[in-house]
Amino acid sequence: MWFEFLIYILLAIGVFFNILGGVGLLRFPDVYTRLHAGTKCTTFGSIFITGSVILLGLKMWYLGSTDGSVLAIHTAGALVAILLTNPTGAHAIARAAHKSGVKPVGAVVDSLQDKSVKKTVKKKEEEK
């Protein structure tokens, strides 16, 4: 009984963080802050939801069904895939956004901008 209760609690936490990610996507003002919401919250929520499915699979395995082992191990594989690919994709999008010229809204400091300005100045001097 307490085991099913644990599964429900994990599902509730995961759904809460996923919804929070969606709200953050709508409320934040520019690409980088939206990436904060869209990456962190959905990854964290996914950990809890897949964790609850893994617990369900382990319970089925314990009760004697080999389908349970498949459920648990394959879900763990999907979780590893999410954990590896999500931050890397966010990094790629942030880099592409900065290179295509989107400025962070209300930025206090932008070291990367200074660096790219320096690089273009150097390139122009070399061309001369």
Binding site: G14, L26, V31, G38, V70, L71, A90, A92, I93, S100
Partner: protein
């Protein structure tokens, strides 16, 4: 498995609300990177949705589909980002 049916259906509906919010961002998004952020979020939520669907209906094959979808959507995100960045492929 039927006793889990209702609870997992509620989870799926909540994930659908999340997808709808991301779709609003994809439609509204002022710049192209905004739209990709929305797409990336949709991909993650769809993967989790497939896992939950597989658990709800006790169909193992959906989870294999989720793993393959995760890897392929990652590659598509990388390619769109590379295209926006400009330069040579």
């Amino acid at each position: 498995m039927m006793e889990f049916f209702n609870e997992y259906m509620i989870v799926l509906i909540a994930l659908m609300i999340c997808i709808v919010m991301a779709i609003i961002r994809v439609v509204k998004g002022p710049t192209a990177p905004d739209r990709i952020v929305g797409l990336d979020t949709i991909n993650t939520v769809v993967i989790v949705g497939m896992v939950v669907f597989g658990a709800a209906f006790n169909e193992i094959i959906y989870i294999d589909v989720a793993i393959v979808y995760a890897l392929l959507s990652f590659i598509s995100t990388l390619f769109i980002a590379k295209y926006l960045e400009g330069g040579d492929f």
